[in-house]
Amino acid sequence: MLRCGILVFLFWAGAVHAAAGDDPLQSPQWTDLKQRYLGAARVVFDPRVVVTGPKVAEDSMNVPVGVKLSGLADVRRVLVVADLNPIVKVLEFSAQGALPVLHFRMKLQQGSPVRAMAETADGVWHVGGIWIDASGGGCTAPSVGRGTANWHETLGQVQSRVWPGEQQSRVKVNIMHPMDTGLAPGIPAFYIERLTLQDATGREWMRIDTFEPVSENPVFSFDFPGTPPPGLSLVGRDNNGNRISARVAQ
């Protein structure tokens, strides 16, 4: 009797899965995730949304991920999510003059799809992603810096560099921050919420809303068409109200 129940359930689940669509990554979470973050909007799996990363996360605290939108016009914002992470949303960014490219490192609690979902001006979400295998523990382990006595002395410090090019330039920044997820016992969530790249006039070229799964002491790389605007600085804050503000080293 019990076995019959299971069989019926399986067939039923299979049918729902098929009806819910054709997630190329075959994730059990995709239907819920889509509902939660994209609602009723139109969603397409789009090869122009390219996510790069390792097949296997060697260091689940620092999994390098790149998001690149090649040939997709009028992108308003890009959400990055990891379906099976305890905290699904990794970050959201919008390029306002910088190229729609972002490289970062994140924590993975277990093997999971990592997806970029780009909303274009017509309200359609374009989704691409990869599956990254991981041994786990990335989100529930305390930050490494917590083990050192002086982490607060370097909090919010920024190291950076510009690689200028005629066609395209790169800006890389490294911010000192524990990025605590709140999932390690006794350590509350403490993470950077907002980062912007601004020029000397205060115009924003890139904005990122970051969440707990972004790695400790995060590194971000941004690309600009041609040479980057002069007088760039990185400005932001964390969820405790600490300010981040530093000129970008040319």
Binding site: P54, R105, W163, V248
Partner: protein
């Protein structure tokens, strides 16, 4: 896409049926045989050659070379393998060669494939460099979990047992064999090399890989290259690498050295170009290394282990 869902549902169905009908269908773990076959490489000296693969569920972690020397005083074991089961089977393999008891176990370094068999040598003096013992204590638990995840039932019942004695480098005479214990580092913080002066066999541990890409989770490439210089100057007749076939000449040291020089140069140059870690996984690997087993996989791992150091040298702080 729907066929895929159909297949998946059918697969689940089959699993449920099998589990329901055949509760004992799982492979009995007694059947897990590493098939260890000692290869005699010199007088009194046998080597168990592992596969040049990564840990998986079919090799059970038999990816490492272990060895034993049958002296007149008893058997000296060099590295105990990846699991309790491996070491139990290693002891049976030794017993097929000699009736003499095992009297000493050396661990060349603290990586799991080289010491998780210690448990099966309980009561026998086991020694390693102090840095190795510290690493075994600190990381043994996490290593065991990870190896279990990768190789499954083969690892069942394995507990990390650190070596009990910190050894002093120098020459020890055991049962007619003069063993020179050389303390080096670079692959890890403590890399023991054993030169049997009586036979000319050099047990190089993981300072030397041959036809298997080197691994770098605890590596300092500068120290590793210095260690290889030292090894190249040792007069040996046969070199037993930690992974890959033994060789009678310098080619294994040379291959490891050339790979490490390339790896460091490739990572440093990428960092100076401003490359991101996620852009490096497709980096071209030179032809001389590309065909070596696990070259692509180990390069990706090395990016995770080493790239931040080179990258942080390129960044500057402004207020």
């Amino acid at each position: 896409m729907s066929w895929r869902c159909g297949c998946r549902a059918a697969g689940l169905l089959l699993t449920v049926l099998l589990c329901g009908l055949l509760p004992g269908a799982a492979v009995a773990s007694d059947d897990l045989d590493y098939g260890l076959t000692p290869r005699k490489v010199a007088d009194d000296t046998w080597v168990l050659i592992g596969k040049t693969e990564d840990f998986n569920r079919s090799n059970g972690g038999n990816i490492v070379n272990t060895a034993f020397i049958v002296t007149t005083a008893g058997v000296v074991v060099i590295d105990s393998g990846p699991s309790r089961r491996y070491a139990q089977q290693m002891r049976r393999a030794i017993a097929r060669v000699t009736e003499k008891p095992v009297i000493r176990v050396f661990n060349t370094h603290h990586h799991p494939d080289h010491f998780l068999g210690n448990q099966a040598f309980a009561g026998i003096p086991t020694s390693a460099l102090a840095a190795t013992i510290a690493g075994q204590k600190e990381e043994g638990g996490a290593f065991t979990d990870n190896v279990y995840r990768l190789s499954g039932d083969w690892i069942k019942g394995t507990e990390p047992v650190p070596a009990g004695e910190a050894l002093r480098p120098g020459v020890q005479s055991i049962g007619g064999h003069e063993l020179e214990l050389i303390s080096l580092s670079g692959h890890t913080a403590g890399d023991l090399v054993v030169l049997d002066r009586s036979t000319g066999v050099l047990f190089a541990g993981d300072l030397v890989f041959y036809q298997r890409a080197p691994t770098t989770p605890h590596a300092s490439i500068a120290q590793w290259l210095a260690a290889l210089d030292r090894l190249a100057a040792v007069p040996y007749r046969l070199l037993v690498p930690g992974h890959g076939d033994p060789v009678g000449d310098g080619r294994a040291i040379e291959q490891t050295r050339r790979y490490l020089v390339w790896l460091e140069d490739a990572l440093r140059r990428a960092a100076e170009r401003g490359d991101e870690m996620s852009e490096l996984f497709g980096l071209a690997i030179p032809a001389e290394f590309a065909a070596i087993p696990l070259a692509r996989e180990e390069f990706a791992r090395s990016v995770a282990h080493l790239y931040r150091r080179y990258e942080s040298e390129t960044l500057r702080r402004l207020r």
